[in-house]
């Protein structure tokens, strides 16, 4: 350990990257603000129990013990603290929140991953209508356009599709559990072995290709024609179709795809799930969906909710970082302060040089390869 080194998985951010990151956050927050969303700031520290519905293998948190022996964590997620706050304060719904901040997830040491991740997102709480998903997706698509993400793919899925198909299958509960695990893991070897007893079942033509039921929206729907009719799927498919049509009409440049074999990101998802990525990305740009039972982790009554979060670091990593512009330093005498400030305000990429002498100002300008304006000689 040293007083100069950072803990594993952390980093300092400064200069152009920090500026770009700030601009990305501002762009996202401005959009939500213009849509009338309200800002919410929750603490970095929470009790561990707030996050008990998160899959523990997905998000390992930093943990501490407080003075009473209770376990605290640095928040690994932004949505559950909002749900905790809603259940504790009795704020009237419907309400729309936006937020930005850091979450902390301990990753494997020295793997090139960072444990502190910046997110900016929104939560719409209290609306059951599909319009809530649509506002989420419209806002996210608008933001992506403003951020200059030209080749965005929006992937839609639904937390209830897989369970509803499984419920209709003529198989035992343990076999269904094994099958869905192999499906979610995309473990084709195991999945195909499990299907062998069902070769003559009417579901087999659909089941054999189920792990590949993602990609082009219409092609995936075409594959569904092999599936025997399941009444509970009709409204799910109708909502997905309507959402695809709505987004494609509003944002013709966004490619909308469909995934009907993916595991929801968390167990608390109850409806439509969305992810977005660009072709060169190594992480999703944003993820979200509907989680109508989220608040039941904290209170008796359920509240419909839809939300999404942008992965700010993933967006910044994909952006072309501009070359730092040449700076201009403004040297002035103390009695020229107002004049210097006025000049600085109208000169791009400038700042006040606070040197005591012009000679010192010249040295600083040379060191920083900056232009120097000398107000003292005017």
């Amino acid at each position: 350990m040293s007083n100069k080194t950072l803990p594993t998985g952390t980093r300092d951010e400064f200069g152009t990257i920090a500026m770009v990151k700030d601009q990305v956050i501002q762009t996202i927050q401005q959009n939500f603000k213009h849509r009338g969303f309200k800002k919410i700031i929750t603490p970095l520290l929470e009790y561990r129990d707030v996050f008990q519905s998160l899959a523990p293998q997905a998000y390992q948190p930093y943990q501490f013990i407080d003075e009473h022996g209770d376990t605290l964590v640095l928040r690994p997620d932004m949505t559950l603290p909002v749900a905790r706050m809603m259940s504790a304060t009795g704020i009237d719904t419907p309400i729309k929140w936006y937020y930005s901040g850091d979450v902390f997830r301990v990753k494997k040491r020295m793997s090139g991953s960072y444990n502190q991740i910046t997110q900016a997102g929104m939560e719409i709480i209290g609306y059951r209508s599909l319009k809530a998903e649509w506002e989420c997706l419209v806002a996210a698509s608008e933001i992506s356009q403003k951020l200059g993400i030209a080749d965005m793919t929006l992937e839609l899925s639904h937390a209830k599709f897989v369970p509803n198909v499984l419920a209709a299958l003529p198989i035992s509960a343990p076999m269904a559990d094994n099958l869905v695990q192999a499906l979610y893991d995309k473990d084709l070897t195991q999945y195909q072995a499990l299907l062998e007893p069902l070769v003559n079942d009417p579901f087999y033509p659909f089941l054999k290709d189920w792990p590949w039921l993602f990609g082009d929206f219409d092609a995936v729907l075409d594959q569904l024609t092999q599936l025997p009719k399941i009444a509970t799927l009709e409204s799910i498919i109708a909502d997905l179709r309507a959402t695809k049509a709505f987004i494609s009409q509003r944002f013709p440049n966004v490619t909308v795809t469909l995934d009907l074999c993916v595991q929801p990101p968390q167990t608390y998802y109850t409806g439509m799930v969305f992810h977005a990525y660009s072709q060169d990305a190594t992480s999703y740009l944003f993820s979200g969906g509907r989680y109508d039972k989220l608040l039941t982790n904290f209170q008796q009554t359920a509240q419909p909710a839809v939300g999404l979060a942008f992965d700010i670091d993933a967006i910044v990593a994909q952006r072309h970082l501009p070359k730092a512009p040449q700076e201009t330093l403004i040297y002035f005498e103390a009695d020229q302060w107002a004049h210097a400030e006025a000049l600085q305000a109208r000169t791009p990429n400038s700042n006040l040089c606070l040197a005591d002498s012009f000679k010192q100002a010249q040295q600083i300008a040379q060191q920083q390869n900056a232009q120097l304006i000398n107000l003292a000689e005017r």
Binding site: G112, S113, D185, K186, L188, T282, S283
Partner: protein
């Protein structure tokens, strides 16, 4: 669309290349590689050769789309990507082994040397035993011979090394084979190419049987 594949070099590489070639992938540059580690000439498939645990690091960071790696590494490293296909090459098994005088039923907290602490811990938890694990980086067979450990958990292919070192197998743990692992986001971005690769590999596997 180019698929970027990280292949575990060494034994895994040698045993899987015939299957890749049977699946229609030109592996000649890898067969005749000399000291080359990266192969970018084929527009459809770019390969790198890396050590097993590093294959997963490249895959997890999105630097590569696909990894070809032993299931021992996948389990030990708690692979978070899609383990899509058992290629059924590089087959071997984990065993608990020691000197002939080792008594597995002896009531003591045994000391087990291994390169695979997680797999070892999981095995002994399953049989209800708590053991002390010593992580060894290679030539694990030495540990019980020089008194560092009571026994070892290691991968065995033919058992020759164990026999030559006068070690005996006391328990069979899980089987090991080479798997095809796919980065989760790459599967979305390159669905058609990955589908085609897997279909070709499965066809080649069937014709081998």
């Amino acid at each position: 669309m180019t698929l970027k594949i990280a292949l575990t070099k060494g034994r895994t590489e040698k045993q899987v290349l015939p299957l890749l070639q049977a699946a229609g992938i030109n592996c000649d540059p890898i067969v005749n590689k000399g000291r080359q580690l990266i192969f970018n000439d084929d527009p459809d498939y770019h390969f790198i050769l890396a050590k097993g645990p590093d294959v997963l690091t490249y895959l997890n960071r999105g630097a590569m789309d696909i990894g070809i790696v032993g299931s021992d590494i996948l389990v030990e490293q708690q692979n978070p990507q899609y383990d899509m296909l058992d290629l059924n090459t590089g087959r071997c098994r984990f065993v608990l082994a020691s000197t002939p005088d080792f008594d597995p039923s002896q009531t003591k907290r045994k000391i087990i040397a291994t390169k695979y602490p997680l797999i070892t811990q999981t095995y002994f938890e399953q049989i209800g035993e708590d053991v002390e694990i010593i992580k060894i980086e290679g030539s694990v067979e030495l540990a019980p011979l020089v008194g560092l450990a009571d026994a070892i958990v290691d991968i065995v292919e033919t058992g020759t090394t164990l026999r030559e070192n006068n070690l005996k197998v006391y328990a069979e743990l899980q089987a090991v084979s080479t798997h095809l692992v796919v980065n989760r986001l790459a599967l979305k971005q390159k669905r058609a190419a990955i589908y085609q690769l897997i279909a070709q590999l499965q066809k080649a596997q069937k014709s081998e049987v």
